[in-house]
Symmetry: C3
Subunit: 676 residues, 3 copies
């Protein structure tokens, strides 16, 4: 638990002083104090610096840096430096260089550049982690260990190919099992020997951006690649734990990042941390959902906001400034959703290379008289005042949405029925229907304990993993409300279709049979016609993208299609199953329908908004020791007002007691403490 | 003649039972009976299965399959399995793997994956064809031989490079002739030795999608590549013929498929067969034109519809269901244009890999109670009733359109004058002007006998091959009407410009000289102004893309340009030549102009519509033994009516006699039998 | 000085008779006479022809060609033939073949195809230049030497990689200096050995179209690549000079061509020559600006228009004909801006390969009765009449715009703040504001002598090279008016940010501090609000793309932002510095604002238009021996009129004297001679 390390939210960020001289270092310390900064993530990219060749290690620089920071009240999140290999390593041991999906051997350059199955990389990354842990295991400054940085990418080299075959041997034991799992009798792909299997790449099964001729091998490659990087992480993890069993070890994740199955990774992270970089077009609800995913990785435990920009990014096409107040607002948003730290990339702006136009706490001007620095310092003061109030508090949700990486990969590797289907977009559609009503949602995996929820959604549950259908039946039988959608229950964990009728293993629970799946053109639409009013829903709503043509096998038909040759067929069904209900949304409806439907489902379970607020005013809550901290966040550029209710509650940032109708300034934040 | 094999249209399709267990096989047989299926294409992708290594062949599986099907009334279209090489072959003999246009050696995966000049592929594909023919030569079930599958793709490996040089030696004898044909003095490309010639690829002469610095070498590569695959086909073809001289051998073509010169291939096919997969945006007239091309490949002989989807495709971006009735409608459309079979891909849907979302006769549900199966079974019954009525009947056209693969390649490899010019689009524009008036058209090659036609069109006859100009002059002199367009008569078979004035060899016939060719921007237009009314044409029509600036050298100027600095120059000319007329359309006109013009040309030759019908109601006819079978097909989603005339005719599907104004249901089909 | 070679403008162009037979050669000579052609550029692509192997050289063909042309009054611009290597060289010495940015070894084909660091290419290109110079040094026909052709492209082979390291050693002496210049402590890129450095390519630091992870190495690669090709040029240059010290040596440039730093190249060119190929969408002002850049390369010396098309291009998507009169108009435009020749690509059209649809003086028709030939011949006659009147005359400008290749590279390799910023577009915006007012502009380098100008603009002076800030201060202190814009003064010559506050080294001169830089979305806008009227400017104008948030440090605030949170901050400032003024435009304004602002700045310096003319009527002037040649060019498709003033002036093309209001025909040209 990170809250035991410091009695307040860590405040700071990435710090790369190796790019600066001693005089600047001293100036940094002065400014950190001004800003209330007490945590620095260091050594993220210093591998080449601290290890100039195979046998030499220079830790003096790090020794001095850590001491200097510590003496000035700044604690350390110590990175292991293995996020980019040294140039000498690339030259002497080309196995560290990746081969890309087009079969091109990379040369030295960029980041994320090490092959995860490189013997050299694995060897030297483990050694450096070991040496760092041994050296700093007793240093009081080091509170968190940060392995590598933003793992990602993929590799198609010979070492990966060999490792993939080993992975498959472990997974399938026999080549016959592989043939069966991948349905290799299709297109005559039968394998007789493990060595006949090659990595699925643009030179073999892949084409276009994300398409595969054989989903089975591609799916296993995605799993293998995620696991390969996890093995790299674990080598370092264990090297640190060997020296410091109670260390807090993490690596910085990236929200809905497709390549890595973070649910699997989180098992080996003492605390989840992540880097939040909303783009200009990112909806607020999407950022909230990403925070909730990060919180869900470890079943609701608080996480670290490891990186955010104080102001500007550099890698968007158009890098607008964060408007005044936005950095503070978004910082509190992350806290409201479960963050126990507020940290930045980075503390001082680089003068050269590709991130020099990325914002920093200390800008190129180099002094404290900047808007950005002032905002950072004001937030630092507030966090200081908040102290440990919200630390380790939990979010309590009665609604959960299932998210699954295997399902993501499988849906989007599918050839047909439509390229328009994006899994995370669908998840977000359902998520935001709750978000806009200030109803809190947990994002859970198929392995999570779902028994405590009242309402469970699994939009586009295309792949049903072994045991999950039974788990859902149990959930509903016990009284839960379950909802899923079109293109669900289609395949098993190998992406092999469950025959006999869609939605396969979910057919019994849902009481329906889907006979056909129609894919609509982008401009093509159908409609959902309610048979009678359902909560606020009545009449006709638009739908599109995919339309399941289904038959009820016991489910009640709540709405029908309004058009085309399947006019009158069910578009929304509800099946009573044991004590609960299982809903099926047969097409992709408009948001008004969706918000009405989910409001009704919530209402039936007596799930109420945390607060009623105007559009763009988000509400989220964390709870600890019988107290609830209610975060009200105005994402609008204009002041808004809302009704707090009759009982007086204390607002923590101002220390004022409020009641009734109150106003919140543009981009303002209120934190109320009330008894749960 | 395939009609001698079975006294009805073959009905069935691709069948890949190796993906299923015995129990499913038995179920398949039951359902085939229900659907009236009597033909299965098997062994398309079983190479790896029947040949697990260099020396072992396992035919037991095939033996049993063929017997089982035959015993259940299902005949066999036996594929040779060489459409995808086994994984072991790729591992042991990398020469079977292609090198792509970017110089990347492929790895095992996908389809169409064998290098056509691979010694290993050629050796083993010939052996397997030989063994199959030897084994099944006397089996009564095997009616058709199906070599490989959908040949296509290209390769740039060393074996292909060497074979290309041999190809060139045969074609040109001396390196001086190559230099001349390719105009290599341009850009100093002079070759002194055959070995200096490299394949034209993205690493040498090609850039962008379809552009080449040297059209000559690229054109020869296209010819070479088509011929290389044809050689592969012929190895198998002769291996079969050695054992079964009277076998019916085919390979499934793909309509307007750019890479292969099907006119050349068809010479070596006992019957043409093809796979018809209209996309969502494909006009009905385009599908009809493709059928007519397939029929034209062997001078009007009936062809096999080898594949179509019963319902959905999987490789379109958006894979909509075929609406009720559409599968039947399109099946009859193919018959109306010359098909003597109706076959599907595939009989049972796969559960894994990239075609699992492609429709099938037996869907994932696995039983007969599906819309798709019902439609298939109904059609099966109808075809049973039709028997051999239409088998081997011919389409009789007085209009022909010239299509030429070399011309296609040359036009679209051209650098300038415009990227907007697409050969097949132009062909389709002229074709559909007849199609919409229910006038039948043959698609012919430059080698076809054209003397029997009244009206011959050769839109964009950019390349004039040796002798073709004289052939055209003879055709017109004898009284024929000929029409060609802008960008015609420009080059010879080497893509070398015929100097002295465009349209080169056609100048005498057309009586014009084209001085310049203006390319218009997409949004830019000019107009065609009729000098006097011509049939239904009068006044002003829009044109664009390319505008030839031409002078009459004897031709009558029928219309002029209405705008720009060449206002008043001829835009449409007619030259009287011997007994006939030669027309020139100098720009790309709107469809109204085109339909008016072609209607007039047809009228002058007394060519009349088969029937007058509302828009979207297609009419086509086949003739046999003095009887004409008139197919009326309503492609609209609503009923239509048309006038059948005063004499009573029998409709074959209903057995009813009709006369006068009659109605046809949405997506309905009428087949009338009348004396020719 | 080229004017000493022939007492009139050279008129002719590229001539590739090796593609034709002797009869055609004789016909060419006849037509050259008809067209008044007296100059032919030959031997551009004849390397393979004149050197069939390592040891054989055949100059007979050239001997005869040169004699034949000379005897017929055609002088020679003799190319060295090294623009494309022979096929035999590629086969025998693969080091001549480039490796592209994706690491792909090229094969023989295309143009610009030799690696600039290939030992073989350097050896044989030097030898051929030497042999040509030796052979023709005394031939009276050869007036100009034309090395290679349109240098360009890049290479990433091992020879280039090794040469790059040598280049770096020369530039930086120590690896520590490299690390510092490239800020390699960022992302752990520290180098310990020269051999660890690899070329920046798509396999190392580059991604997307133009992006780099390390701007420092990419910038140095751009310099290195430009220098490598310059070294190739210089090998040939010195080989020629060895034999003919007073030869006129050039190579044909391409205007704003990004890859080569032409200011550096021009030092080694006896005369600048260039190929002008405006596209369909190219503004007239852009072509004018390119001419002015070419003139600026050698501080105002006249240049050669080496190539333009007589009519059509072939490599645009849509290749429209040059409308009647346009070829003549654009020819005079080039002369008006400093050209002393009018030349074409090419004299006779090719019949094969990719330029056969590129216009030529002698078209495929082959005779003189074409519109194109007639226009060429008419211009030939006019030029004959003009004689040496304008030869060697100079353009006199009081306004200069700074252009810098390093700055171009650095701006567009930048990651952030916006992808919308294109350096040449910005230069063109400011240029065209003068152009539209008929105020002449010089394009100068940072090394040019700027002291003689009254008004100096340096839009987006992102990179400030050593000494240039001081030079600017000196210029302004002495009374000059200087203007720069947003995103200026940011970095030094290594692309390292000048810390302490933007605009860095320009801060003192401009009297401002830029705190932040906001990047706007394409559809997003802000406004510039004038505090009081400034010349014709008053009220509110639109701006966008980038908005600097700045504080005055002494500069007068002339206008402010009108919107967003930085409403009221300065948007336009003027700093009085010594005797002069330094202006800063903080955002990208609309053209009305810009034209108003620059008109005011010009007015303050009493810089007046050459003439007042309607829109689209360009005026430019050249001066010699006390006489000014005023070119008035009507780019409109309709006649226009303008006021010539009260004194009578002679128009040279008609020999008429004009005064007062006169008319100019559509696409017409007037050349007035008046005393300066």
């Amino acid at each position: 638990m990170i809250s035991s390390k410091l009695p307040k939210m860590f405040y700071g960020g990435d710090y790369n002083p190796e790019q600066w001289d001693h005089e600047t270092h001293l100036e940094d310390l002065r400014m950190f104090k001004l800003a209330g900064i007490d945590m620095a993530t260091i050594n993220v990219f210093s591998w080449a610096l601290i290890q100039p060749d195979e046998v030499t290690y220079n830790f003096e620089y790090l020794d001095q840096l850590i001491d200097r920071l510590y003496e000035n009240g700044v604690y350390i999140c110590l990175a292991t430096s293995t996020a980019a290999h040294p140039a000498w390593m690339a030259k002497n041991y080309p196995d560290v260089l990746r081969v890309d999906a087009d079969g091109r051997k990379r040369k030295f350059g960029g980041r994320h550049n090490s092959c995860p199955n490189s013997p050299t990389y694995r060897k030297y990354s483990e050694i450096i982690a070991d040496k760092l842990a041994e050296r700093y295991k007793d240093h009081p400054a080091v509170l968190v260990w940060h392995i590598s940085n933003e793992y990602g990418g993929d590799c198609y080299c010979e070492n990966c190919e060999k490792a993939f075959r080993v992975y498959l041997k472990k997974r399938y034991q026999t080549i016959e099992q592989v043939n069966k799992a991948w349905n290799t009798n299709f297109w005559g792909h039968t394998f007789y020997d493990w060595d006949e299997i090659v990595l699925p790449s643009n030179l073999s099964e892949h084409w276009g951006h994300n398409s595969s001729s054989f989903q089975g091998i591609s799916l296993d490659y995605s799993r293998f690649n995620s696991d390969s990087m996890l093995e790299c992480y674990l080598l370092e993890y264990h090297a640190i734990k060997k020296h410091i069993p109670d260390s807090v070890v993490t690596t910085n994740l990236m929200g809905f990042f497709k390549q890595l199955d973070y649910f699997k990774w989180a098992k080996y992270m003492d605390i989840v941390s992540w880097d939040s970089y909303p783009g200009l077009a990112t909806p607020i609800s999407y950022t909230a959902m990403a925070h909730d995913l990060m919180r869900g990785l470890k079943d609701g435990l608080p996480f670290m906001l490891m990186e955010q920009t104080p102001s500007q990014q550099n890698w968007q096409p158009y890098n607008s400034l964060k408007r005044p107040g936005v950095m503070r607002l978004w910082s509190y948003q992350s806290v409201a959703h479960g963050a126990d730290t507020v940290m930045f990339f980075q503390l001082r702006r680089s003068v050269g290379a590709c991130e020099k136009y990325h914002g920093a706490v200390i800008e190129h001007a180099g002094h404290e008289n900047t808007r950005v620095f002032r905002e950072v310092a004001e937030l630092g003061k507030e966090l200081q005042n908040l102290g440990d109030t919200t630390l380790d508090a939990r979010v309590q949700s009665r609604v959960a949405i299932v998210f699954d990486w295997d399902n993501w990969w499988a849906i989007e590797k599918s050839s047909g029925p439509t390229v328009a289907l994006k899994y995370v977009e669908q998840i977000h559609k359902y998520y935001s229907a709750f978000f806009h009503r200030n109803i809190q949602v947990d994002i859970v995996s198929v392995d999570s304990d779902i028994s405590s929820y009242d309402l469970l959604l699994a939009p586009v549950l295309y792949m049903v993993k072994p045991g999950f259908a039974a788990k859902l039946e149990q959930f509903v039988a016990a009284g839960g409300t379950f909802l899923t959608t079109f293109f669900s229950g289609i395949v098993n964990e190998h992406d092999l279709v469950t025959t006999g009728g869609y939605p396969g293993e979910l057919r019994n629970l849902l009481g329906i049979w889907v006979e056909e799946i129609d894919a609509l053109l982008p401009e093509q639409k159908n409609s959902i016609v309610l048979k009678e009013t359902l909560g606020a829903l009545e009449g006709v709503y638009e739908c599109g993208m995919l339309c399941d043509l289904l038959h009820s096998e016991g489910a009640e038909v709540i709405a029908e299609y309004g058009e085309d040759f399947y006019q009158g067929m069910p578009a929304l069904t509800r099946n009573t199953f044991g004590q609960g209900q299982a809903w099926y949304v047969a097409s992709d409806p408009d948001n008004i329908f969706l918000e009405g439907l989910l409001a009704e489902l919530a209402a039936e379970k007596n799930i109420k908004p945390l607060l009623e607020t105007p559009q763009g005013v988000e509400v989220s809550a964390r709870t600890k020791d019988g107290l609830t901290y209610l975060f009200v966040m105005n994402h609008n550029a204009s002041p808004q007002s809302y009704d707090l209710g009759n009982s007086s509650v204390r607002e923590l940032l101002t220390g004022t007691d409020y009641t009734g109708q109150i106003s919140i300034e543009a981009r303002g934040v209120h934190i109320f403490e009330r008894t749960s």
